[in-house]
């Protein structure tokens, strides 16, 4: 019988009521008295010298309040990068300046040049057309390998080249890895592209800056996954506003997927401009603008090699990746192809030697940063594709080859620094074989073939590192921030609870799931608990939601704070019952004296805390409010096995997903309904990457996929129902809930199985010379491969 409340239950989401009735409060729904509107005039060339921005005619246009250019930001900081990677020679990465508005040069299509503030959006846009730009167009660098050749045009004139860093990991393993390859019985190699994607949360970014003249306080309303991080980055590094004079609010946010982690120029602009003109300033991105200003994701070009011994054991792995940074370093960009990618290259396998080389490259494109999975999908894709290719070359079953090389002993020290605490890869593969009905595949293939179609089955495993992460470790790796999380549990006098968390919900259902944890600990009804998030004025410093960290890190902080509440409440209860606090137990919302029938209700204790007439004032303070900061000792390591079945039309090259199955180990589960929803969404995005999506630039740096007319978002008819299972549970050993995180798994685990399935379908028709097709596997690409 499933539970109906507390940990493990699936109560309906409370946030749905406002979303389903049109009562959500998204940033674009916020309008402040006297607000002006800003439109950004953006570069329409990828690379050019900005000789002159003539705003004189535009300034006289109707409704224009003020026009800003790069000159107005001469005394203001640039957009900072939050992570410094050290290269294989021990040198820091090259880190270019990133002005709020372009200064001297424009470096990608969409680079903001001028900001027109006017009484209405329409007037701001009209005025933008009257600005006269003198831009001397320069040759653009788009292709990464061309960008790092000698003599390539430089994106940043003051850097030595377009190479941000050349990273080796683990550098000390390189010689031994190379040696192992010399002794291998078999080597499989594969070159592949992890296609550039646009995150595309359905809510475009919005920023509203406000300034209070009487208090000298600034407020920024913004579409962010981490308002405290924005306050720190923007306040300390860009505008020089101390935290106590700066409030950042991220209300309902319509999806993030990584791209709303970062601090963007438009946020800094609206905050800055509001202080200048002493009026609120609002910016709402159009979708077209989003395509050329939201940080993109992925965009890796890799070569991976796998060495096996004569018994098909993996003995060594090496990869070389070119990772696109775009024109500037977005907030976490340098960490994605390095620490979020290299550390996962061991995957689920006992490969004793791994060496990862990554060259991060500047190009005249939109900055690239974390997108759902961030580094881990790129690692998984390489690894799970090369294993599949190796199995075909060796003539062994790809599942058998994986099973043979699975890590089975935990904790497991990988050769790429991280230690997996728990996992059971055999169990998730067993579960996958069951839910994906592998035994029925042959009959399904036959049925497809009877219709003139090909059918393929592809499988992959994945491991990811979530709950990012121990602050002392990430500090050593170059993070310029800590990565703890905070929670304040405020018990009110009448017993209701407000929980202020640094985690941010933008679709994850925190307002429903977090109360389940606290209600379970206290034995009170979930409806008495409210989750407060998304406002730096309301809760303590927090690091926000990304990297599947909210429950593992933010939830753990809540547990710690609630434990403090319980300890204090027991002392109050002991006083009220004239007992020893060591004898007090909490059960079903009451405090009991063990071994007696004496009890006091939760509400009696909370009232006593705030009306301390009968209270141990000599021992403890009144009030019942506790804060905890939780900093984990390790990442968490969710894992799983995924299977995809495709049908392929050999006449057109069109691939359809017929079945998709996912068996995940997320550790303990708080709300199974929400967990399944997270996996569904991730799989949808992974299928999108595998079959449909791709941000495409032409050689001149024009973004060819600049709207939903050109960028193929997955629609309902592009995907099937998914079979998902998370009954394989190996609890995380180092956080109090035993949870691992589920937000990114679907997006990490799904692309390789789709591609593996298509290759399987092609091989079933004798097209065994096709060993790889780069994503997206559009009909055009598949047909071309078949008819090459």
């Amino acid at each position: 019988m499933p539970k109906d409340h507390g940990i493990g239950a699936s109560p309906k989401r409370r946030e749905d009521l406002r979303f389903l009735t049109g009562n959500g409060n998204y940033t674009d729904d916020i309008n402040l008295y006297g607000q002006a509107y800003v439109h950004f005039l953006r570069s329409d060339v990828a690379h050019g010298r900005l000789n002159k921005v003539d705003t004189s005619a535009a300034a006289d246009m109707p409704g224009v309040v003020r026009i800003f250019t790069g000159d107005d930001f001469a005394g203001v900081g640039g957009i900072p990068c939050g992570w410094q990677v050290t290269d294989k020679h021990g040198q820091p990465m090259q880190e270019p300046a990133h002005p709020v508005l372009a200064q001297g040069k424009v470096r990608h299509v969409g680079d903001p040049i001028a900001a027109i503030v006017a009484e209405t959006y329409e007037q701001a846009r009209d005025a933008a057309e009257a600005i006269v730009l003198d831009i001397e167009e320069l040759p653009a660098v788009i292709d990464m390998k061309a960008a790092v050749k000698d003599g390539a045009p430089k994106v940043h004139d003051d850097l030595t080249s377009n190479l941000c860093y050349d990273w080796g990991f683990v550098e000390e393993n390189k010689a031994a890895t190379d040696e192992a390859f010399k002794n291998a019985a078999h080597v499989t190699s594969l070159e592949l592209v992890n296609n550039r994607l646009v995150a595309n949360p359905m809510e475009p970014r919005v920023a509203v800056g406000d300034y209070n003249r009487s208090t000298d306080e600034s407020t920024l309303y913004t579409t962010s996954q981490n308002p405290h991080v924005i306050r720190l980055l923007m306040g300390a590094f860009v505008l020089g506003i101390p935290e106590h004079k700066l409030r950042v609010v991220a209300p309902d946010v319509g999806g993030g997927f990584g791209t709303k982690i970062f601090h963007y120029a438009e946020e800094a602009f609206c905050t800055f401009a509001a202080r200048q003109i002493k009026r609120p300033v609002k910016w709402t991105s159009s979708r077209s603008e989003a395509f050329m200003s939201d940080a993109h994701g992925r965009d890796h070009v890799s070569k991976i090699e796998l060495a096996l011994d004569k018994d098909n054991n993996f003995i060594a792995l090496r990869t070389e990746t070119y990772a696109n940074m775009g024109a500037y370093l977005s907030t976490f960009a340098p960490s994605v192809p390095t620490w979020l990618h290299g550390t996962l290259m061991a995957g689920n396998y006992r490969t004793p030697l791994v060496y990862v080389n990554v060259k991060a490259v500047f190009t005249n494109t939109v900055p690239v940063d974390a997108y759902r999975g961030a580094g881990r999908p790129e690692a998984t894709y390489q690894l799970e594709r090369v294993i599949d290719k190796a199995a075909r070359e060796l003539g062994v079953d790809p599942i058998k080859l994986r099973r043979q090389n699975f890590i089975t002993q935990f904790p497991y020290q990988t050769p790429v620094a991280v230690v997996y605490d728990t996992g059971n890869y055999v169990a998730t593969m067993d579960k996958l074989e069951e839910i994906a009905d592998f035994s029925g595949f042959a009959a399904r293939r036959k049925a497809s073939e009877a219709k003139g179609k090909l059918r393929g089955l592809g499988v992959n495993c994945y491991i990811e590192a979530c709950g990012i992460a121990p602050s002392n470790l990430v500090g050593q790796l170059g993070a310029r921030a800590g990565l703890y999380e905070s929670a304040t549990v405020r018990v009110n006098a009448t017993g209701s609870i407000s929980v202020m968390t640094g985690s941010h919900s933008h679709g994850q259902g925190h307002e429903t799931a977090f109360p389940q944890v606290i209600a379970e600990m206290l034995g009170i009804d979930e409806s008495m608990i409210e989750i407060v998030h998304g406002d730096t004025a309301k809760g303590p410093m927090g690091m926000g939601t990304y990297g599947s960290r909210s429950l593992a890190v933010g939830g753990s902080a809540m547990v710690r704070a609630t434990e403090k509440i319980i300890n204090k409440a027991k002392k109050i209860a002991a006083h009220l019952m004239e007992a020893s606090d060591a004898d007090i137990e909490i059960k079903d919302g009451k405090f009991h004296v063990a071994g007696t029938d004496k009890s006091v209700a939760w509400g009696d204790v909370t009232l006593a805390a705030y009306v301390p007439h009968n209270y141990p004032l000599e021992d403890i303070e009144p009030g019942l409010e506790e804060t905890a900061f939780y900093d984990p000792s390790n990442f968490t390591y969710p894992s799983g096995a995924y299977a995809c079945e495709v049908e392929l039309d050999p006449d057109t090259g069109r691939v359809t997903i017929e079945r998709f199955s996912a068996a995940d180990d997320f550790g303990n589960i708080i709300n199974p309904m929400i967990v399944s929803g997270q996996v569904h969404g991730g799989i949808g995005q992974g299928i999108g990457q595998a079959l449909l999506e791709g941000a495409v630039y032409d050689d001149n740096g024009q973004l060819l996929t600049g709207s939903y007319m050109d960028y193929a978002m997955p629609r309902a008819a592009d995907v099937p129902f998914y079979a998902v299972d998370h009954s394989c549970v190996t609890p995380c050993t180092h956080n109090p809930l035993g949870v691992k995180g589920c937000g990114e798994a679907g997006a990490i685990g799904s692309p390789p199985s789709v591609v593996n399935a298509v290759i399987d379908a092609l091989h079933s028709a004798g097209k065994t010379h096709i060993t790889h097709i780069d994503m997206p596997l559009s009909p055009n690409r598949v047909w071309a491969a078949m008819n090459a």
């Binding site: 699936s10 309906k12 989401r13 946030e15 749905d16 009521l17 406002r18 979303f19 389903l20 009735t21 049109g22 009562n23 959500g24 998204y26 674009d28 729904d29 329409e122 949360p201 359905m202 809510e203 475009p204 309902d252 946010v253 319509g254 999806g255 997927f257 709402t284 159009s286 979708r287 077209s288 933008h506 679709g507 994850q508 199974p672 309904m673 929400i674 399944s676 929803g677 569904h680 969404g681 991730g682 799989i683 949808g684 995005q685 299928i687 709207s707 939903y708 007319m709 978002m713 997955p714 629609r715 309902a716 008819a717 995907v719 129902f721 998914y722 079979a723 998902v724 299972d725 679907g746």
Partner: protein, 161 residues
């Protein structure tokens, strides 16, 4: 500026608009009905779907001035008279058919139009009908399931909650 008059969620509404003002802007900015969302600028995403004279319309693809005299129904106007969720809304909550909630108003309005046209749609018919509504969160699984449930179909056998 032109003056437009229409009925929105059963109430008379009017305002002065520029010729280029879109219906969705009029709803959001003049009438402060911010439940109707704008997710794109090419009429692809469907976050702005409302009903105009009973038909689903993308409110970004109609000028406010064109809406003179029409009846508009938005997400704010679809709940039961007592304020409780209607069948489609309730099915979306029951089956976790929404996550961030941004596409949701458009999804509910489109689903409502579908069920009016076709009270018992197949899975394939639902997926095809949602062609003009993009969701980035759910992978569509629970949206399709919710619409099937709203049509009164037994969805208990559909894979995993």
């Amino acid at each position: 500026m032109v003056k437009v008059n229409m009925t929105v969620n059963g109430k008379a509404a009017s305002g002065d608009v520029e010729g280029r003002t879109l219906l969705v802007q009029f709803l959001r900015e003049n009438l402060h009905l911010t439940g109707t969302h704008v997710g794109c600028d090419t009429s692809q995403c469907g976050a702005c779907v409302v009903h105009v004279n009973g038909t689903a319309v993308k409110a970004c693809s109609m000028l406010a001035a064109e809406a003179e005299g029409v009846e508009v129904l938005t997400i704010e106007g679809v709940a039961n008279a007592d304020g409780s969720l209607n069948t489609v809304q309730q099915a979306f909550q029951d089956h976790h058919g929404l996550q961030c909630g941004f596409c949701t108003p458009g999804m509910v309005m489109t689903a409502t139009a579908l069920l009016k046209e076709n009270p018992n749609p197949t899975e394939a018919e639902i997926r095809d009908y949602l062609e003009g509504n993009i969701c980035r969160c759910t992978g569509y699984h629970n949206i399709v399931k919710a619409i099937m449930a709203a049509a009164g179909q037994d969805v208990s056998r559909i894979a995993a909650e």
